[in-house]
């Protein structure tokens, strides 16, 4: 069919079942937006390109589908960079389409020209510069395929302005032909047998699960394996929600701010089975002393992750959708009494967890941030999606909120991007409109993309924004308190911004909760509000996130603290 490049892009998006695009128009994408207008293609206009890319990311994480965003050339593209890097670190499938200056102007330092492919090469799974309309169908087909197969990730398509206007005969390909990338990641079954055999010999096995389980939607197999064996399980930040929250031996997050039992279990286990994890420095502590008594098995789709940070004894290279069902099958067809075999070890770790759970000081006369998170956890529905920003509130959310399912705890893990939360929450809500979406943010993070409150208002996107307002950049201040002689260098905000008025000015409802006695009723009322609302909750300014493994320390060298059990 004869059409221009712009139409071809949008037709291809329809073929890929894209139901919404997040974006911001500009000079190089005028033709694209003209076709979008003619086709009435669903589009969310954010207030900043960074908002668009984070929203596409939140949409992708909440739905498991590819998130799509548009931006113009130059500053449009560079404003996407933080969002692309965020998605890349957490393996989120995105297709970001940017306009480029027209072919004759490329390389001439033209108006709004920036080398987006050059800039995004280190932070994308792949990228393309399209200089001919005839390449568009193949490139779009490949981009979606690459973004969502194997280890997912962001793909950038930079399209020269004149390509959008170029007429050509459009035909969308049925299949992808890439010589260096099959998109299939089936491994060798004998590697699974090796782990199975190692498990028979183990006395203190531990599962250590991460974002890969979420990304591959392998929760059912994982939960069945855990139920069959009774093996204790700990998680990375990205793996929260995968283990059954009713499992007594699911100890939540491990690592720098992980639970005592989770970290001690890593130190004492004799077989650590990592599943979809990358042994990030926030979770290993000093890496040479990570799981020192254990053989390490690693189920992983990305060959480059095996032996990258931690030496692996038993790798299982392949898609978890291939390996976990086979592993489950072996366990279920075995007659062994795994539960009996590991029960002492299981009870031992459970006892540690009961002895030293996540705690905090109560009856302080203030609204404790942890109490707030716990209360929201109790009030929320089984389907509620929690989104966080980055900082202390993020860690408290990870410690005290219990997500019931994967894709219900959305957070910038690898890159730790402040300002991620609000736009990501908008994207999550648009992807899952029937589910309640609650954002935990701080008075630091919210200001980094607070302009998107206006987007929430304009489209009436029903997100509940809970600000844990402590008047400081809490995590920075905590480190300064602990390691920099209480030099609170540029971390005391004491801002004059009235966040409730800010929300109201943008068209979003707002309320403030300052007294512990008001907390429950105030929260109930605010969460029941129809439409977006910002809930500004005043919390103390010197609370630390604990436990904490200081940099360069082993996981069992935690600073404990908190309060009474």
């Amino acid at each position: 069919m004869l059409m221009n490049g712009a139409r071809a892009v949008l037709e291809s998006l329809k073929k890929e079942q894209v139901d919404v695009v997040f974006g911001y128009p500009g000079g190089a994408v005028l033709t694209l937006y003209d076709e979008l207008y003619k086709m009435k293609f669903p589009h969310i206009l954010t207030k900043h390109e960074q908002g668009a890319v984070h929203a596409a990311d939140g949409y992708a994480r909440a739905t498991g589908r590819v998130g799509v965003c548009f931006a113009t050339s130059g500053p449009g593209g560079t404003n996407l960079v933080t969002g692309i890097a965020t998605a890349n670190m957490d393996s989120v499938p995105l297709v970001c389409i940017t306009g480029q200056v027209a072919n004759p102007y490329i390389g001439k330092d033209s108006f709004q020209e920036a080398d987006i492919c050059g800039i995004t090469t280190p932070i994308t799974k792949h990228n393309y510069l399209v200089k001919r309309a005839v390449d568009l169908p193949r490139v779009l087909k490949e981009a979606f395929f690459i973004a969502c197969t194997g280890r997912p990730g962001p793909v950038v398509i930079d399209i020269a302005k004149d390509v959008f206007a170029e007429e050509f005969n459009y035909e969308y390909p049925h299949a992808v032909h890439l010589r260096g990338y099959s998109g299939k990641f089936t491994g060798q079954e004998k590697e699974i047998d090796v782990v199975f055999a190692a498990l028979q010999a183990a006395r203190r096995p531990l599962f250590f699960i991460g974002g890969g389980v979420t990304l591959s939607d392998e929760t059912a197999d994982l939960r069945a394996i855990l139920a069959r064996t009774g093996i204790p399980v700990v998680s990375t930040l990205m793996g929260l929600g995968c283990a059954d929250p009713a499992d007594e031996a699911a100890f939540g997050m491990a690592g720098m701010h992980g639970s005592y039992a989770a970290n001690m279990a890593i130190m004492e286990c004799d077989l650590l089975v990592g599943i979809g994890v990358r042994f990030d420095d926030r979770v290993t502590g000093v890496v040479e002393e990570f799981a020192p008594r254990a053989k390490i098995a690693h189920f992983e789709v990305d060959a480059a992750e095996i032996n990258k940070n931690v030496r692996v004894d038993y790798p299982v290279l392949g898609d978890l959708r291939w390996s976990l069902p086979l592993f489950r099958q072996r366990l279920e067809s075995s007659a062994a009494d795994y539960k009996g075999r590991y029960s002492m070890w299981r009870q031992y770790v459970i006892a540690m967890h009961h002895e030293k759970p996540f705690t905090y000081k109560k009856d302080t006369g203030c609204i404790m941030p942890q109490a707030l998170v716990e209360m929201v956890s109790r009030m929320s529905e089984d389907q509620t999606i929690i989104v966080t920003d980055v900082g202390q509130h993020q860690m408290w959310a990870a410690q005290f909120y219990t997500p019931r399912q994967p894709r219900q705890f959305i957070t910038s893990g690898g890159l730790g991007t402040m300002g991620y939360g609000l736009p990501a929450a908008l994207g999550a809500k648009l992807g899952q409109p029937q589910k309640q979406v609650v954002l935990f943010t701080g008075d630091g993070s919210i200001m980094m993309n607070c302009q998107e409150l206006a987007t929430a208002a304009d489209y009436q996107i029903d997100v509940k924004v809970i600000v844990l307002h402590n008047h400081v950049l809490g995590m920075v201040a905590q480190w300064q308190r602990m390691f920099y002689d209480r030099h609170y260098s540029e971390s005391l905000l004491n801002g004059h911004t009235d966040l409730v008025k800010l929300a109201e000015a943008m068209g979003v409802a707002g309320c403030r909760i300052s007294e512990p006695a008001e907390l429950e009723s105030g929260l109930r009322k605010a969460l029941a509000h129809e439409g977006p609302i910002l809930i500004d909750v005043m919390v103390p300014d010197t609370e630390d996130v604990l436990p904490m493994v200081p940099g360069g320390k082993r996981l069992d060298q935690m600073i404990l603290g908190g309060g009474e059990v």
């Binding site: 090469t121 280190p122 260096g180 990338y181 480059a304 032996n307 990258k308």
Partner: protein
């Protein structure tokens, strides 16, 4: 530090060299040399990379990270198989009536070639393994070397099996 020569077959598409070099710099890998050129297949480019690494694990990371690039079709470590390695150097040396004969002598001993002669200089070309190239550079440094251009090493395996089928 150990050196390995990797033959990397990639799609002959724009941006491929950016992807490869971008990855190398991002992961802070040590590269001795890198060269690229067309192959027997029009749509395939062969990149020859000499990496220097501390350990087997680091080499494994280089190979695995490069393999992840969508444009990369195949990587073979030619230092691990029987192979022939060659490098080309061109050296411009200042030469006058007094020392020209000495320089020609050196060229002959190394079985190098003089490919250009000017009133005050000669350009010498030599193909060989890296050690031989280093050696002629060393000897010629007694004279006045004006400039040197080296290609970096390339290699082919011995026998019938090409890299793409390994």
């Amino acid at each position: 530090m150990k050196k390995f020569l990797l033959a990397v077959l990639v799609d002959n598409k724009p941006g491929v060299l950016t992807h490869v070099s971008g990855l190398i710099s991002r992961r802070a890998f040590n590269i001795e040399s890198i060269s690229a050129g067309y192959t027997e297949e029009a749509e395939v480019t062969r990149i020859n990379i000499v990496v220097s690494v501390e350990s087997e694990q680091e080499l494994e990371q280089v190979v695995n990270q490069l393999s992840k690039l969508i444009d990369v079709i195949k990587i073979v470590n030619l230092s691990e198989v029987e192979s022939i390695k060659r490098e080309l150097v061109m050296i411009k040396v200042r030469a006058n009536r007094n020392n020209r004969a000495d320089i020609i002598n050196v060229v002959n001993i190394f079985r190098a070639k003089i490919v250009d002669v000017g009133p005050e200089d000669v350009v010498i070309e030599l193909t060989g393994e890296q050690g031989k190239i280093d050696a002629i550079c060393e000897v010629l440094s007694e004279y006045e070397i004006i400039e040197i251009a080296r290609t970096g090493a390339i290699a082919l395996s011995r026998g019938l099996l090409p890299v793409k089928k390994m």
